[in-house]
């Protein structure tokens, strides 16, 4: 591999989903002319496009018909009627959903900005579904006390992603499609750029910038059954950790209650938002016992735990008893075709069931990463509990941890978070560049160590395939660090991950070529899975309580005295695990003090 040119931009964005593209677009239209976005897949292939059910904002367009109760049929709010929803309700729902681990100052920004962001999407061309009077249509979602999921049928993420990408092109953003970030260049606490590979040629480039923004997405691929795309291997999270940036709250991994049985492919929460039921092998709507008030529209952590309990107690379905039924039949053909056309096709294509006529087999599926790279409210990455900034480095979306989701994210808050904080990161970076941020010098050739590392991987002729290591990692994470956890299983997982890390050093890359080497990418992705999985497990082992998605059977209560705090994990010395420390949660003790969490 030769020494190709150094590339220079004012701003470099890594990742072209909603968060990264928002950041790039905002920089572009605020006059920062020189913005480069790199993405390991074509921008329109980003996983934001897989989101289905909606984006949350308290627009107050619909409400339950009067006298029908909170689960009654919805109608448009008449123009002169009082608002049926507001940002304060959205804020409380998000705090309660987070099991009080979300930072309430950040949540307040998100739910207030939500309204402007959704209207902005609309003004930029997003084709939302509509009420008869032309307003944006809204539906119910789990854990939300009002119908505030703004949607485009069940392909909301797809239309948001296409809209924002189109507008970024309109504002002259330059995209590097199929470029893969390998490392951050941080010297003296200042981020100066990245090292990245042009996948087509296999060449490594130093890319220098005044600011780098990560919008690299989540890390669901560390598990066997996941709704996540193959691309969601937590690259940005692992790269930041390796560069000495701490990771926050990584132990909080969301299981979505309705992944297609054995595939994990998402059946949108909109299925239940539109009125779908969950049923066990005895035909019982079991949510009655776990969340008598909210039923199927309880938050995801609670519903997934309830499903897993039914499965563990022998009331699951399918040949291995590890499934549950999703029942949409009573919604009727017309509603399913109008509101849930994509999930209907997915059920037909992947499990051979038409939800109009039959029960759909589903199971909990790893879906979302609440943890990630810690940032302040403007996407500025911080390096410790006091908020010391890593100058020049920003992050937003699923790879980041602001934290608005705390211990459990509510459905439709992810598209929202990626949009709101991607936009804010873009604004902060545009200000920084316009205020005269410098292009900091880079010493030596930062690509050299990466080039040597890749050469070693390509030249090595180990016995074992990296895929075998990935398979075993996913197996132990699923078995030992899943919906229910305990000290013994977590210790086993930690031991397994470390052994796999050691084995990876002599893993084999079969493709020796430089051109479009997806085998080499797969190996690098596996390395990233191994890196952050250790942090997930270490955080989970240390946190001796139940909170949101983190459920310890050996510590069955939430413990606010000891654990109402964020985990920070810093990479330790070679051979040592992550160094854990803690950061306080921002709580408005007058307005939103911690309460018991019941649905």
């Amino acid at each position: 591999m030769s020494n190709p040119e150094t590339i220079v931009h004012d701003v470099i964005v890594v990742g072209a989903g909603l968060a990264g593209t928002w950041a790039a677009l905002v920089c572009g239209r605020q006059g920062v002319a020189d913005v480069g976005v790199i993405s390991k897949v074509h921008p329109l292939r980003s996983h934001s496009g897989s989101a289905q059910g909606g984006i949350a904002a308290a627009l107050g367009n619909v409400r339950p018909v009067e006298g029908t109760g909170p689960r009654g049929p919805l109608e448009p709010v008449p123009p002169d009627a009082e608002a049926a929803d507001n940002w304060e309700l959205h804020m409380f729902d998000t705090i309660k959903g987070s099991d009080w681990l979300g930072d309430q100052d950040a949540i307040e920004i998100m739910v207030k900005d939500a309204i402007a962001v959704v209207y902005e999407y609309e003004h930029m061309g997003c084709v939302f579904s509509r009420l008869v009077d032309g307003r944006i249509a809204q539906r119910r979602f789990g854990g939300h006390s009002a119908p505030r999921a703004n949607y485009a049928a069940d392909w909301t993420g797809h239309v948001l992603l296409h809209t924002i990408h189109e507008q970024a092109l309109r504002h002259g953003v330059k995209f590097y499609s199929e470029w893969y970030a390998l490392g951050l260049i941080i010297e003296e606490g200042i981020c100066r750029g990245i090292v990245a590979m042009d996948v087509l040629t296999g060449e490594l480039h130093t890319m220098r910038a005044k600011a780098v923004i990560f919008g690299t997405g989540g890390y669901g691929r560390a598990y066997e059954i996941t709704s996540n795309a193959h691309a969601n291997t937590g690259d940005g999270v692992a790269i930041a950790y390796d560069a000495g940036v701490p990771l926050m709250d990584m132990e909080f991994v969301q299981f979505h209650p309705t992944g297609l049985y054995r595939h994990g492919i998402l059946m949108s929460e909109a299925c239940r938002g539109e009125g779908g039921y969950l049923v066990n092998s005895k035909g019982e709507r079991f949510m009655r016992q776990y969340a008598p008030d909210k039923m199927e529209l309880a938050p995801r952590d609670l519903v997934s735990r309830s499903e897993q309990t039914e499965i563990n107690q022998g009331r699951g379905i399918g040949p291995d008893g590890k499934g549950i039924y999703l029942d949409l039949r009573h919604l009727g053909r017309e509603k399913i075709l109008a509101r849930l056309p994509q999930v209907r096709e997915l059920a037909i294509d992947f499990v051979g069931v038409d939800p109009i006529d039959d029960l759909v087999p589903i199971q909990p599926t790893v879906h979302y990463s609440m943890g990630g790279i810690p940032t302040d409210k403007d996407g500025q990455v911080i390096s410790d509990a006091t908020g010391t900034p890593v100058v020049g480095l920003f992050a937003a979306g699923e790879c980041a941890c602001v934290s608005v989701h705390g211990a459990n994210r509510l459905g439709t808050n992810s598209l929202l978070e990626a949009s709101v904080f991607g936009r804010r990161a873009g604004e902060a970076v545009a200000r920084m560049v316009k205020d005269g941020a410098r292009l900091e010098p880079v010493s030596g050739d930062p690509a050299e160590s990466h080039r040597n590392g890749l050469r070693q991987m390509l030249d090595g002729d180990g016995e074992e395939s990296y895929e075998q290591i990935a398979v075993e990692l996913k197996s132990t994470m699923t078995e030992n660090c899943g919906i229910f956890r305990e000290s013994r299983s977590l210790k086993k997982a930690l031991q397994d991950v470390r052994l796999l890390q050691a084995r990876f050093r002599s893993a084999r890359v079969m493709d020796k070529s430089h051109r479009f080497n997806t085998d080499l990418l797969g190996a690098l992705e596996t390395k990233h899975l191994l890196t952050f999985s250790e942090v997930i497990v270490a955080g989970a082992l240390a946190r001796e309580e139940c909170r949101g998605a983190h459920w310890r059977t050996d510590f069955p209560n939430r413990d606010d005295q000891k654990w109402l705090r964020h985990t920070l994990a810093l990479k330790g010395a070679e051979g040592e695990g992550p160094q854990l420390s803690y950061k306080s949660v921002f709580i408005d003790w007058k307005r939103y003090p911690p309460q018991e969490r019941k649905y």
Binding site: S50, V132, V509, M510, S513, H514
Partner: protein, 271 residues
Amino acid sequence: MEPPNGSNTEAIVRIQRFNPDTDAKAHVQEFHVPRVQGTTLLDALHWIKHERDGSLTFRRSCRHAICGSCAMNVNGRNILVCKTPLEDQLDRKGRVTIRPLPYLPIIKDLVVDRSTFWKEYVRVKPWLVPPQTTPAKEFRLSPEEVAAVHNAETCIMCGACYSACQVVALNKAYIGPHALLKSFLRVLDPRDTIPGERLADVGTDEGVFRCHTIFNCIDACPKSLNPTQAIETLRKLAQKRAAFEAARVERQRTIADPIPVPAQSGSEGER
């Protein structure tokens, strides 16, 4: 030479291989792949990559037909391999043949160079150009106006139609079905302010008048969309451009106002 037969337990997956750096020309390689219930073509490709040959190269990501990465040519048809069961594609002898999308330069094995495809996409200005002044809330669009572009908004830009189009194959200057479908989405959108400019751009011999209505794009589309119908609509609109522009100006006078609701509306006030 006749390829070997598969069996009840093994399928023969025949894959076109080509690395321009090392191969003089493309060749077909055969792999014996276990026939397991529920295996998709993408699963089969992954199995080969992990168990037999790591250098086998293909694109994929979401694996549920929304990201558009994995369009390939299977037994002569362009499809998404992620949502297609292996069993459905095996012939009576248990064989299936996978090639890259036709008519596009090959980067490596099943990965094609979609540069011209994306160039045409940008050429039609895929972005909305909204009115200068925006309302405090949403522009009001009726459910009917949204339904009219439903076809176009769900396009995943996989390239299956583009690479199945005979006109594209013969004429690289042709805008192509994917980009014309996107242009249709923008032209029909009541919020767009430059429908006349768009119709002028696509109402040419490189645009909608180049389409021979062979319908290959409809056959190829994995999302059951209908680019040909969109092209037909654009043709008609291109011929009455001035009237269409005037109607758009008129529509935008009230675009921030509530759509008049007929007395009888749906139970949830929405379609």
